[in-house]
Symmetry: none
Subunit: 538 residues, 2 copies
Amino acid sequence: MTRERIHLFDTTLRDGQQTPGVDFSVEDKIAISSMLDAFGFDYVEGGYPGANPTDTAFFSEKRTEKAAFVAFGMTKRAGISASNDPGLAALLQAKSDAICFVAKSWDYHVRVALGCTNEENLQSIRESVEAARASGKKAMVDCEHFFDGYKANPDYALACARTAYEAGARWVVLCDTNGGTQPAEIRRIVETVIATGIPGSSLGIHAHDDTGQAVANSLAAVEAGCRQIQGTLNGIGERCGNANLVTLVASLSLKEVYSCRFETGIDPERLSGLTDLSHAFDELLNRSPNHQAPYVGASAFATKAGIHASALLKDPKTYEHVPPETVGNFRKVMISDQGGKSNFINALKRRGIVVQKDDPKLDLLISIVKEREATGYAYEGADASFELLAHRTLGTIPEFFTVDSFRVMVERRFDANGRIKTVSEAVVKLDVDGERVMSVAEGDGPVNALDLALRKDLGKYQAEIADLVLADFKVRILNGGTAAITRVLIESTDGDGTRWWTVGVSENIIDASFQALTDSIIYKLMKNRHMAGRMAAE
Amino acid sequence: MTRERIHLFDTTLRDGQQTPGVDFSVEDKIAISSMLDAFGFDYVEGGYPGANPTDTAFFSEKRTEKAAFVAFGMTKRAGISASNDPGLAALLQAKSDAICFVAKSWDYHVRVALGCTNEENLQSIRESVEAARASGKKAMVDCEHFFDGYKANPDYALACARTAYEAGARWVVLCDTNGGTQPAEIRRIVETVIATGIPGSSLGIHAHDDTGQAVANSLAAVEAGCRQIQGTLNGIGERCGNANLVTLVASLSLKEVYSCRFETGIDPERLSGLTDLSHAFDELLNRSPNHQAPYVGASAFATKAGIHASALLKDPKTYEHVPPETVGNFRKVMISDQGGKSNFINALKRRGIVVQKDDPKLDLLISIVKEREATGYAYEGADASFELLAHRTLGTIPEFFTVDSFRVMVERRFDANGRIKTVSEAVVKLDVDGERVMSVAEGDGPVNALDLALRKDLGKYQAEIADLVLADFKVRILNGGTAAITRVLIESTDGDGTRWWTVGVSENIIDASFQALTDSIIYKLMKNRHMAGRMAAE
C-alpha cells in the first residue's frame, strides 16, 4: 500500500527564535541547520534576511544540502510594485531555495496592522508569490491568524488562501498564530478549506501550544488533509512554543494510526537518533533537557511504582507505548518509597548484590528505605547511598574510618583594614584503622570547608581518593522555616569518569552535607575494591 | 441553556507522586490538599493508604472540606473474600469519602500480572465496589490499560467497565495507562463504550502525556461523552506526566466550544487565581515554574520585539487567545532599554517611590540591579529586597542598626553518654543606635541559630519585631560544586498578615542567609514606619 507523504518544515531558526531568552548567533544557526538537514527534515527555515544582521549574514550562503533552505519575510507592501519593494528585494537575493511569505488573512489585521484594503492585501500575496517563482524559488505563504480570521470573516480568509494557491504557491500554510484554536475546530476548518478546492497536498499547518495542544492540532490538521507540518525542535517558540517536531516525528513514525497511512522524509534508521537530536539542541541552548519530554525525556520510560515495576520486568512491551530504543531512549526502573519487593531485588541485582526474596534482611532493608524516605531521604536520586545502605543492611561493609567529631565555623567580622571578611573553617577528627587523624581547612563556605578538611587526610586511604571530585551539590528544603529539614544531594566523579550520587538529610544543613560527603568517600573506596558501582561501570 | 457538569478529579498526590524526584511528606500533602480543596476541584485523591507510612498517616484524618477526599487502592485479591483482604480493609478504614480502585481491564495483565482468571478479576471488581459502598463510601474504578486492553480484547475490557458500573461505581474511569493512545482513538472507543449502555455521566478519562496529548485526549473524551477528568497540577506524573488540570480548567472555562456546553465545579471568580495556584505548587516542589506553560507561564502572554509587538499594543485582544488577567497572568512586551526604564519607574511607583525619568540615580539603580542579577540575585522573587535596594540607591533609609560581626558554629561530637550530638550555635554583635548588643543562640541548624540570635536582642527596636515570623526558607545552588554560589530566599510575615520576600547571594550559604535575614528585619522596621510595603499593603 502506498503511503502519503507528510512534509516536515522546521522553523526553529525563525519562529523558535521568538522564544524569550533565545538568540541564535550565525554560528548557532549554522550548527542547527546542519543537524536538521542531516536528520532529514524537508524544509529548514533559517530566518528573515534583511530584518537583522544575523539573518542577513546567515543567508549569504545556502546552508543545507538535502533540505530546502527557506527564507521568511513579509509580502510586498501595498502601494508599491513588487520590483520596488526593498524588503522583497532582500528576500529574493537571499541564498535560499524557497521563500515563505507571511500574509495577513484576518481582515481586521489587514485594516489595523497593514492599513490597506482587503483587495490590496490579496494583490500583495499574488505578486509576492509570482516574484518568488520568477526568481526561480519555491513560494509558500503562511496565512497568519488564519483560524481566527476564518471565524471572523470566512470568505476573506479563504480568499487569501486561494489567492496564494492560484498564484502558484507550493504550500499554503494555515496558521493558528494566537494558539488558541481547539483540535475539533482545526479539523472542521481544514476540511472546509479543502472542500473549496485547495488540495490537502498544498496545505500546511502551523500550530502553537497556548492550550497545550500544538501537537494535537497538527495531527488533527493532518487527519483532515494537510500534508505539511511546521514546528520546532523541542517545541521552542514564542509564548508557549510551537508544535514540537521531535514529538511529531516519533508519533508519525511509530503510531500505527499514522504510520499505516503516512510517511515522512526521514529515513526510518535515523529515528534512533531522535533523543540525541533533542538533547544536542538543548546542549546548544545551554539548558537542561526536559526530563518529562515525550519519547526523548530521561523520564519518558522511567517507572517508579511498585505495582507496575514488577509486571514491567515480566513484559516491558505491555507497559511501554513504544519501545524506548526505537527513539534512542532507555528504560529506567527506580527505587522509591513506593517500590515493591521485586523492584528492590532487581535494583540490588543490577548492583551485583544477590538476595533471596524470603531473606528477612531484605524486609529490613525495605522498611529502612521506606522509613528514611518518609523522613526526607530520596534514594532514587542517590544510587550510591542506596547501594551503601544495602551493603550495610544485607551484608558486610569494611569500616574504613570512623568520625570522632567535626566542627564548622563561619565568622563575619571586620578585618584589620576595616573591610568585612567572612571566613569558613572546618575541623574534622577521624579514626582511620586505629590511626587518629585531624585536619583543618578553610573554604568558600561551610560545606566547602568541611569537604576540604574531610578529604585532606584520610590516613592510609588518602592516595586512593586523589581523583575524587565533587561535581554537583544540590540542596532542597523539605518544609518551611529556617528550622526545616534539609536534603543534600552530592554528585561525585573520579578519574575513570564514573558518576555517583549520595544523599544526606538533617535539620542541620552542615550535618546533611557531611552525611553525603562521607557516603561519597566510602563509595569511592568500595568502588576501588570492585565492591560497588557494578551498574555504573557496565 | 443548561450546561453539563464536568467533574474534575485531582490525582497530584497519588499519580503525581510517581514523578521522578517528587516525594511528598505528610505536611506537603496537607498543604496541597488544602490548595486543591479551596480552588474547587471535585475530588482530591490523596494517596494509597496502607502502601507506605506517609499515605497511611495522611489518611488518618479527612483532609478536605468541600472536595470529596479519595483513597486509592487495588481491588481485592483473587482467591480470598473481600472481608479477608487486609489491603482492602486498610482502604475501608482510611478516613476518605470515596475509594478509587485500580482494576486491570486488559486480559493479558489479568493473566500475567494478577495471575488469576478473567472471571475472578471481574468478581474482584464487583466485590470491591460493593464493599466500598457497604462501608458508606463512594466507589470509583480506574480501568487500567483500558484503551490498550480494548484494542486487544474489546469484549473483556468492556466487561470490566460494565461490571464496575453495574456494581454501583459512581465513576468508571477509562485509563490510557501507557499514554500512547491518540485522540481519534480515544474518541472512537469512548463512543463505543457509551453505545454499549454505560452513560457518559458515569465515565471518566485518565490520560498521560507520552505523545504530548494528555490534554487533547482528555478533551476528546469529554467531546465523546465522558464527564469526569483525572489529572494533576502542572501535569506532574509518571514518565511524561498526567493531563495538566491547570490547562484544562482554563480551556474548559474560557474556550467557547467547551464553555457553551459545559461547566465545572470551580467558581468562575476563582479562575483569576489559577496562575497563583500553579506557581504556589511549583514553590512547594522547590522548582522554577515552566515559563512556557499554557495560560500560567511567565511567557504565556509575552511578545518579543518584532513584527507583532507594535501591533499588539494597538489592540492586544486580537493577538491574545484569552485575556491574560482572566487566569491571573500578565501581558509582557519585552522591549528596549528605554522600555526597561519605564518598567522600572512603574515598578517603583507601585511601591510609592517616585523618581524622575532623567534622575541619574535611576540609571544607577538599573545598573546595580542588572549587575546583581547577573551574579545570582533574583529580585522578581524578592520584592522587599528590591524595595530596600531602591531606597538605599535613590534616597535615604534610616540606619537602624549595623552588624559588627557574627559567628556560627556547628559541632558534631559524642556527648557524655557516647551518643552523637550536633550543636549549632550563633553569636551576633550589633550596634543599635550607639548601643552595643550581643546575643547568642542555639538552633536546629546554623541558619536557625543565626536567625534566633539576630532577633533575640535588637535593643530599642526589639518590641517592634516581636510579631515577625519567618514563614519560608529556600536555597538554590546556582552552579555546581560545594564551592558554588548559593541564593537564599526568605519569606517573612507579621501580625497583620503581610508577606514579603528577601534575598541573599553568596558563595557562603550562611552569609547569603544573613543578608536575607537582615533585609527582612529592616523591611519590617520600614513597614512599621509606613516607609515600605505600600504595594503589599494594598
